[in-house]
């Protein structure tokens, strides 16, 4: 359950600023490490800034999402959500310059399949890398197995991720049972799904409990469809008296929606420029062999 999970204890932060701070610190740590190592060609200009890393992060995150959506056999949504969450958590404490996102992205998906008990053999998994030859797929698999333990370590062995999909189902069931004012909750399902997919690309998973995210999704979809659902919170959830909790809920929902609005797909020219820089850093200072794609 979420309320006793490691996600609540260790991976739910208070505000976006603390997340920014962590990412900035990860970036700084890598820079200092490289500057201190005294390798040739090291200078501040060579490295990526935190906001540049952010652009690249979003780019690779989108690629991860596309990879999971194109996966055969069809990946359940919770597996996709878990993979993206791993990716996000990993790069909260590590810099993209130290571990290339291309590799980490695949390992996140692989680990997520294992953890969520979505049975895919390793050959089947790398078979989904359609751009690679068989040899390329082999190399990819080797890389995955090499870095898998690193990923688990950086996740601090907290492998269970609570995604908003089951809470969403639960809330729909509850609405159908206790809230007859909303006539056809099933009609909301598609837009709710869409909302949840978009929300995984934001930092909401690291800031809010999945049940709140699901609630936001449902209320948002309802208001978009012109249906009023305000009394659900006050009546069914018993928050009529508890003004404070109600205000907090509204505040959380507002913040989630603003995070979603702020998200934008990274611009291609920016991405390419930073990618060049990233490749330089990995080629010069990286210790791992690179993969194509």
């Amino acid at each position: 359950m979420f309320h006793i999970s490691s996600q609540k204890k260790y991976w739910t932060f208070d505000n976006e600023e603390s997340l920014e701070q962590l990412r900035y610190e990860a970036n700084q740590k890598y820079r200092n490490k490289m500057l201190a190592s005294g390798k040739p060609g090291v200078s501040d200009a060579v490295f990526l800034e935190a906001h540049e890393e952010n652009v690249l992060f979003r780019h690779y995150e989108k690629r991860l999402l596309d990879f999971c959506n194109a996966f055969k056999p069809v990946m359940p949504k919770s597996v996709v959500g878990t993979a993206i969450m791993y990716f996000r958590r990993f790069y909260l404490n590590n810099s993209l310059m130290e571990y290339h996102p291309r590799t980490i992205m695949l390992i996140c998906a692989y680990l997520s399949c294992k953890v969520d008990e979505f049975n895919v053999s390793s050959t089947q998994f790398v078979g989904n890398l359609v751009q690679e030859s068989a040899a390329g797929q082999e190399r990819a698999l080797e890389q995955i197995l090499e870095y898998e333990l690193l990923l688990i370590q950086q996740l601090n062995f907290h492998l269970v991720v609570h995604t908003p999909y089951r809470p969403m189902e639960g809330l729909l069931i509850d609405i159908k049972t206790r809230y007859p004012l909303l006539e056809n909750p099933e009609s909301l399902r598609k837009s709710v799904d869409d909302f949840l997919t978009r929300v995984t690309l934001t930092d909401s998973g690291l800031l809010f409990p999945p049940s709140q995210i699901a609630m936001t999704a449902i209320l948002n979809s309802a208001s978009r469809a012109g249906l009023s659902m305000e009394s659900y919170l006050t009546e069914c959830m018993g928050l009529k008296e508890d003004k404070e909790t109600l205000l907090k809920m509204y505040d959380a929902m507002r913040r989630i929606k603003s995070l979603m609005k702020k998200y934008e797909l990274p611009k291609p020219d920016e991405v390419n420029a930073y990618k060049v820089k990233l490749e330089r850093v990995h080629a010069d200072f990286g210790t791992n062999s690179n993969m194509n794609g």
Binding site: H3, H162, R166, P167, G170, I173, S211, A214
Partner: protein
């Protein structure tokens, strides 16, 4: 023929237990064995040299071998001698570490003497220790003898008790036998003398025999209660040391309270009644066979939906 009868043999005359079952092997301080007859032959003068290692030995030092490996016997003898001197006990030391160090030293000494390493040095160490700790050794010796006496007393008591019981059961059996014989004899006499028909006499005799049986049974069942179940003999005055009463607080069960940071979840059993199950996919017979029912999935979904909904306030 058991295997061990064959391999233990006297190194000199080569007789084994197989050929001479009453063969006794004797071990001396050097660790080599000789059978009884060889000992008598070689040490007729009282002292001589060991056959295998040529150490000067005395006949009186030969002891009957208790262990298969003569080296073990040798070590046991050495250990007994060493422990006569090194007889400190665990309460003579201030902490566990010191006691363990002491034991380690004792083991070293025994090992050295058994394997003939640094015999001179070890003997000197032992003498030095003996001189320094003379009074403690004496004290512990006294304590040891007292304990041994107490143990012996207990053993004696036990033996006496066993003896007594054995005698009693024997006597009982005798009495029963006699009673049976008497009744048989009485039957024969009556058959001879009386004018009552034989069948009635036989019936009477049978009755009496049955009565006797029950009597015997009852007697057996009368347990001689001489001791309480704790082992304290009845009638003995026991000095009751005041036992410290341990005051302990009685355990009260407190049900676990889980803070879910969200609205209360309906109970699993109530789900059907409240109408939740109408909105969940019904369980197929294949699922139900394994113990699944739709309430489980529904309950899980509701739990997840409500958990943490009011976070961080709850």
């Amino acid at each position: 023929m058991t295997p061990e009868m064959d391999d233990q043999g006297c190194p000199r005359c080569k007789t084994t237990k197989y050929r001479n079952p009453s063969l006794k092997l004797m071990v001396n301080v050097c660790g080599h064995t000789l059978c009884e007859s060889c000992v008598d032959m070689l040490f007729v003068r009282g002292s001589g040299n060991c056959v295998q290692c040529d150490t000067p030995l005395r006949k009186s030092n030969f002891r009957v071998q208790l262990f298969e490996d003569p080296a073990v016997d040798k070590e046991v003898e050495i250990r007994k001698k060493v422990l006569k001197i090194y007889n400190k006990r665990d309460f003579d030391f201030s902490n566990l570490r010191e006691y363990n160090d002491y034991l380690e030293r004792v083991e070293e000494i025994v090992y050295n003497l058994t394997n003939n390493l640094e015999v001179e040095g070890t003997k000197q160490i032992m003498e030095a220790y003996q001189r320094e700790n003379r009074d403690i050794i004496q004290k512990n010796k006294a304590k040891l003898t007292r304990e041994q006496e107490e143990l012996e007393e207990l053993l004696l008591l036990e033996q006496q008790g066993n003896e007594q019981r054995r005698l009693e059961t024997l006597q009982e059996e005798q009495r029963q036998l006699q009673a049976k014989r008497k009744s048989k004899q009485a039957l024969l006499d009556e058959l001879e003398r009386s004018h009552v028909p034989a069948t009635i006499l036989l019936a009477q005799h049978k009755d009496r025999a049955a009565q006797l049986e029950t009597q015997i049974e009852k007697q057996k069942q009368v347990v001689k209660t001489t001791i309480f179940s704790t082992g304290i003999p009845m009638g003995q005055t026991v000095s009751l040391l005041t036992v410290n009463r341990l005051e302990e607080v009685l355990y009260h069960y407190q049900p676990i309270h889980m803070h879910t940071y969200g609205p209360p979840v309906p109970e699993l059993e109530q789900l059907g009644r409240l109408g939740y199950l109408n909105h969940v996919r019904t369980a197929q017979p294949q699922d139900m066979a394994g113990g699944y029912n739709s309430g489980l999935a529904c309950h899980r979904a509701i739990q997840d939906a409500f958990s943490g909904l009011f976070h961080p306030l709850g």
